[in-house]
């Protein structure tokens, strides 16, 4: 998967036709094989753009930053990124007519060791669902499957699960990198940062981490698109996907096979309801 030349051509064309102000893509770090997101404003810088299977970060994150707000933006999106873009459009966070979206029929991105990431192996929607122009051959949708880690953990008993997650919360340093790198977290001020509230937890304790991570994952339930920006950003390497994938699975099974950001105009699972929703757990 290498669309470097095509993306450079597209970006150059968009600049010359004066269709965009900023182009958001990737460039090499210059140190290693990894890539850095880059915001290009000057057509002369277009040759820095690259795209291959090391283009990991979900660029829709940059749509909430001041550099792109109110501007005409060109954007590269893979399958999962386009789902988050779809949701941002549905939630009126960005305007479609200001965007030029280069969709990728993604074949999965790889980590430092050259291994495909787990979410890429399990990917249900590898092709971009929102795009003005598509690169690559669309492969069609995959079959939704239950995450292997979830299956393994869910088969353990309550005491083991509690001990496992206690360790997760203990190792959280509460830097909030997960939240900041999440494309779906766009609140100007997060609810877990409201110092004036009595619900606020400012300390970096285990208890505060439990509170922050659980609240965060529940606020993303039914909206998470499984791009795993959070997990890749976590300096403690916490398995944050467990929380999100579990929620996704519960929602998929109970709420009419809902998957976030797949259909145009489809809101998050908590923004709609059905009269047939399960009721048996309520007295």
């Amino acid at each position: 998967m290498d669309y470097t030349n095509q993306i450079r051509e597209i970006a150059a064309r968009l600049f010359s036709e004066n269709k965009i102000d900023v182009f958001v893509g990737y460039r090499m770090t210059g140190f290693d094989e990894n890539q850095v997101p880059v915001l290009i404003r000057d057509p002369k810088e277009v040759p820095r753009l690259v795209f291959n299977d090391k283009s990991v970060f979900n660029l829709t994150n940059y749509l909430k930053h001041e550099h792109t707000r109110g501007k005409r933006v060109g954007l590269v999106v893979k399958g999962c990124d386009s789902r988050s873009l779809q949701l941002l459009l549905t939630e009126s966070q960005v305007k479609r007519d200001r965007l030029y979206v280069v969709g990728i029929a993604c074949e999965g991105v790889v980590d430092d060791a050259g291994q495909k990431y787990q979410n890429c192996q399990e990917c249900v929607f590898p092709d971009a669902v929102v795009f003005d122009e598509m690169l690559g051959t669309p492969k069609g949708n995959g079959q939704y499957q239950v995450n292997a880690d979830i299956r393994e953990l869910a088969s353990k008993d309550l005491v083991e699960r509690r001990a496992y997650f206690e360790e997760v919360f203990e190792n959280c340093i509460r830097c909030n990198a997960c939240r900041h790198s999440c494309p779906m977290c766009y609140c100007a001020k997060c609810c877990i940062d409201q110092e004036s509230s009595t619900l606020y937890n400012g300390a970096n304790t285990t208890s505060a981490a439990f509170h922050a991570l659980m609240t965060w994952s529940l606020h993303l339930a039914g909206r998470c698109v499984d791009c795993r920006n959070c997990e890749k950003a976590c300096p403690s390497h916490l398995p944050l996907h467990l929380l999100h994938k579990w929620n996704e699975q519960v929602i998929y099974e109970n709420f009419q096979e809902h998957l976030a950001g797949v259909h145009e105009g489809d809101r998050g699972a908590f923004y709609k309801y059905s009269l047939q929703d399960p009721d048996d757990f309520i007295m």
Binding site: T29, F57, N171, A203, S236
Partner: protein, 353 residues
């Protein structure tokens, strides 16, 4: 010159570590979720004092905890009462194994600010009662640049005991401070050869250092960086270099020298605890004042503060860079922004591309 060196081999080093762990309260890098962090250990098998390159998290939490209790309080109808916390001030001696020299050096840098206008007694106690045993790296990582900064890595005295793995399979253990010297006296070094002013050992250590120093890919001149950055406060370049930062704060949390904190209360009913916890200047509300004014409302200004604090302000005030070149921030950054690239290219000094 009066250098004492203990010479042993790999097995002798393991015995040395085991003896320390058996005798003292010991902290060492422990692997969890695929990353290394300093944790209290009870056996050598559970930890890895020779962990590759630097730990993901620095040893900073052992001196400046992620969250420290400052005080407790109760507030009810009879009034407000404030009491001391039960936080352990660390009265017994403890040992840290496997701390890289960049981490050790960061403590010397932090000492300056902790001994400045306010003396942090808890920090002093923790610092005084800790023996740092550090093995010199054999090879630099992609993001390491400690040799480019304003300290002599070879003659660094930030660690109490230095361990050097010679190329010939021998291990050289050298006390670097008085504390280290008295720590090594006694049973710990009985199985080792004790030499004084030995040229052969000094040569082997020098050779190891040269091999290590030669493995760096990143080199810059910190003086040009200090000087260049001090002149470009108003440069529009800051906006360009910071535009791909997602403002996630991870760099400050993993940084061994960042020392900003926030104060917060945790309360239940009438009782509460006041905490001092890590914070980062990349947080949008870090400079938010009670009246609602925020002097750094946009990202590039916060970002500029972080870069300039490290290489200009701290240097002006304390004469040292607030960066030890460990590369932790670059490894942790979700979008792979390299502090080295930024500070070395910003003043257009040394374009590495």
């Amino acid at each position: 010159m009066n250098t004492e060196i203990f010479v042993t081999d790999k097995a002798g080093l393991a015995t040395f570590y085991e003896a320390i762990i058996a005798k003292h309260e010991t902290y060492a890098p422990v692997e969890k979720f695929g990353k290394y962090e300093f944790k209290k250990v009870s056996a050598l098998s559970g930890c890895d004092p020779d962990a590759p390159i630097a730990t993901t998290m620095s040893a900073k939490p052992l001196f400046f905890p992620r969250s420290a209790k400052i005080m407790k309080y109760t507030a009810d109808a009879s009034g407000t009462k404030v009491s001391e916390t039960d936080e352990d001030p660390l009265s017994a001696q403890r040992v840290i194994l496997g701390m890289k020299h960049c981490d050790a050096r960061s403590l010397q840098v932090l000492d300056k600010v902790y001994n400045w206008d306010f003396i942090d007694t808890d920090y002093q106690k923790r610092r005084r009662n800790t023996v740092i045993i550090s093995a010199r790296c054999d090879k630099a990582d992609t993001h390491c640049f400690c040799t480019s900064l304003d300290y002599n890595v070879e003659r660094l005295d930030a660690m109490d005991v230095l361990i050097v793995n010679g190329a010939d399979g021998k291990v050289y253990i050298e006390p670097r401070t008085e504390k280290g010297k008295s720590f090594l006296e006694g049973d710990l070094t009985h199985h080792m050869t004790h030499v004084r002013d030995n040229e052969e050992a000094a040569k082997a250590m020098k050779k190891q250092y040269d091999a290590f120093a030669g493995s760096f890919r990143l080199n810059m001149d910190y003086k040009t960086v200090n000087e260049g950055l001090s002149k470009i406060f108003d440069s529009p370049q800051f906006e360009n270099v910071s535009d791909n930062c997602v403002g996630c704060n991870t760099c400050a949390f993993v940084c061994p020298t960042c020392h900003c904190f926030k104060i917060s209360d945790e309360k239940v009913k009438d009782t509460g605890v006041r905490y001092k916890s890590y914070d980062s200047c990349n947080n949008g509300y870090f400079t938010l004042m009670a009246g609602g004014h925020n002097p750094r409302p946009v990202k590039y200004r916060r970002w500029r503060q972080r870069a300039l604090h490290k290489f200009v302000y701290y240097k002006e005030r304390f004469g040292e860079n607030l960066c030890v070149g460990c590369g932790k921030c670059t490894r942790a950054c979700p979008v792979n922004i390299s502090i080295f690239e930024v500070v070395s290219t910003l003043p257009h000094i040394n374009n590495i591309q």
